[in-house]
Symmetry: C2
DNA sequence: CAGGCTAGGTTTCCGATAGGAACCAGCAGG
DNA sequence: CCTGCTGGTTCCTATCGGAAACCTAGCCTG
């Protein structure tokens, strides 16, 4: 019995599935985590998140803004200053996100161990 | 104060970051959710997960297997039968995953509402 | 006043990836 | 002999990701 009824984040047409796909993204989780402590500037995110390009950061922030998870504050100063912060809706995500990051902190090494314990390069020839 | 020290899933070189990127993927979350109730066959996953192709499913399953989160059982029958199940390590993920899916179930509509409430097509001309 | 600096963002280009469709293996049944 | 079932792979293309260069707009320096 599979028993996954409608409303489960499985059926492609339900909003929950779209929401999962919104956040289940390489950068989304990390960016939201970065905003979980309060307003952060664009440049700060670039620094603290190692490896993200300006393009992807902007793109990710725009997507989150469009979905109502974060808010953008552009100050009319020179040089420009732009801060991002979680909306109340976005704030409801920090618990799930923190569970993920805690899991990663606790099990990251185990995952890496498994990786080089099974370096069998996909030989499922059965 | 940013205060994100090393060990946070931010610095690109730490295992936690790799672990986050492993699961923060469009299909990974959904597939793991599908396995959270016990062994499931390849074909069942295809059905219950709307929209995934066989290729992406196989690819995702192989990656999870290589990282020690799931185990593969191929029965030498005809027609072939292959079941996937969570390893103990993978089982530690179901709590975080369920928090995500619960969040999605609860807030999916709010996210969609925000989307068509702000159809401003990125006019940040400042 | 020319030129540099700042910070956020966009554009361009190219390699990597996702994803659908078609194909394959291997045996049972009509 | 031909078809179907199931898991998987190959081929091909549309899309995406990432690096680097460029842009805006004012202030600061020489």
């Amino acid at each position: 019995m599979s028993g996954f009824g409608p409303g489960d984040p499985f059926l492609a047409d339900c909003p929950a599935r779209l929401a999962v796909e919104l956040i289940a993204d390489k950068w989304t989780v990390v960016v939201l985590y970065g905003l979980s402590r309060g307003p952060v500037r664009h440049g700060e995110l670039i620094e603290v998140i190692g490896g993200i390009s300006r393009k992807m950061l902007t793109q990710t922030l725009r997507r989150l803004e469009a979905h109502g998870l974060i808010r953008r504050h552009a100050y009319a100063e020179v040089p420009p200053r732009v801060e991002y912060e979680l909306t109340p809706l976005g704030a409801t995500l920090i618990d799930p996100i923190h569970m993920l990051t805690e899991w990663a902190r606790a099990n990251g090494d185990a995952v890496l161990d498994a990786l080089d314990a099974d370096p069998e390069p996909v030989a499922h020839s059965d």
